[in-house]
């Protein structure tokens, strides 16, 4: 299974790669912002996208909408540190399958990925 990680923080990108490869055996591709996410999505056709919200140029919500416009079956999970009230609803409205708040535990992340990939959520 292939997962696209979209985050402008290099340390976070690397952390996701390490967790997903080492603990889940997933293949990982990366993008630095919403714009790059769209290009990378077209190229690598991932099974799941892990999307950050606060990014330069095109933010996570906008990017989620754009990817879904391109592929209505895209499975996008938002991962964010922002605790703005109503943000979770905004992400779900934009079409995200799940909303993960930082910090999170490895097992929780893997569990969400499993559920989303099986179409349970």
């Amino acid at each position: 299974m292939k997962i696209l990680v979209v985050d402008d923080d290099k340390d976070i990108q690397k952390m996701f790669k390490d967790i997903l490869e080492k603990c889940g055996g997933y293949q990982v591709t990366q993008a630095d912002d919403g714009k790059g996410a769209l290009i990378e999505y077209q190229e690598s056709k991932p099974d799941i996208v892990l999307m950050d919200i606060l990014m330069p140029h095109v933010d996570g919500i906008e990017s989620t909408k754009k990817i879904l416009k391109q592929d209505k079956n895209a499975k996008i999970v938002v991962v964010t540190a922002a605790g703005k009230p109503g943000l979770e609803e905004m992400c779900i409205e934009a079409g995200a399958k799940m909303f993960i708040k930082k910090p999170f535990k490895i097992n929780y992340l893997l569990d969400v990925i499993q559920k989303v990939s099986r179409g349970v959520v």
Binding site: D9, D11, D18, I19, K22, K101
Partner: protein, 373 residues
Amino acid sequence: MVKGIEKTRGFLENIMESIPSTILVVDKVLGIVYANPHYYRVSRQRPKDVLGKDIREVLPAPTIKRMDLDKKIREAIDTGRSFEVGHAPGDRLGTFYFYRVRPLTDGRGGNVSGAVILVEDVTELTRLEEEVKESYMKSDFISAASHGLRTPLTVISNYLALMQMGKIRDPEEQKETIKTLISQTNHMIDLVDDMLDISRIESKKFSIETKKVSIEKIAKDSVEKVKILADLREHTISLKIPRGLPKINVDEKRINDVFTNLLTNAIRYTPKKGKIIVSITDKGEHIRCTVADTGIGIPKKEQEKIFERFYVSGGRLSKGAPDRVGLGLCIAKGIVEVHGGKIWVESRVGKGSTFYFTLPKNVKEQTEQTTST
């Protein structure tokens, strides 16, 4: 009939007696024609000291002066328009009053014959407002701190878990991981330091240690500090510093923080291969330092807000930089002001921004100074 009138008058008197606010009525020339019982109770004056007297003789002079009350009452009488003026500090320490003034019409032709003045003690309300404001500020603070800590905590806790699970075995990989852990821990330390600075600045307990130093040296040190970051974005930084600048009394570390913050912002908000110029000018009584960039610029309406805490240009938080919560410029302002200087920005969208700050030459040599703001 007479009984009926007396009954009504008694009823009205009872109402006036029980009103817990001051009511004064003045005639066209501001002579007091009526004061309600509450006024006599709180002012401890007697009717003979009040009735027929000019309001300026009866109300405390500072109260009148502070709010231009006499002029405003006269205006209300002349124009027939009401006005309200509030939260004026009273003469007793810690009391606040709210004034409502309505023109008094004679009821027949609607001619204005004076004014009714209602004075309410809003001390408790003002105190509650302050409390609410403070609690909002605290929750603002807590939410920004928690937001800033979430990303480094995610990286640190998950890498520690991976190590505990034995997933990071390769020595090179271990080294890299430790580097990441240190860098994320430093982010948290910076954030906590910034939060402490802000809280000291706001509670006016921010102190500096000054000694005679060369501003040129501080500027050069700061440029050196941000060089790696500037190189990454292929910016050029140049210095324009005249010879023979006098040494002045400042807190070297803190002024370095100001330069570093302005430079980091310039680097961050300037598209790749930009130009950043640091210049220092002797302006007689003070030294003026500027950091100019060829960056994206700041819209006019944001230019004042950027010095407020938690404000990030563009109205949203960005990451990947040390200042993730929008405290840098607020701290810079606090540092400059505690030195007795000023900080401001001139900017045009798409052209770039120039930040200025001044440092007075005559800051007295001292080991500690507290904010005057």
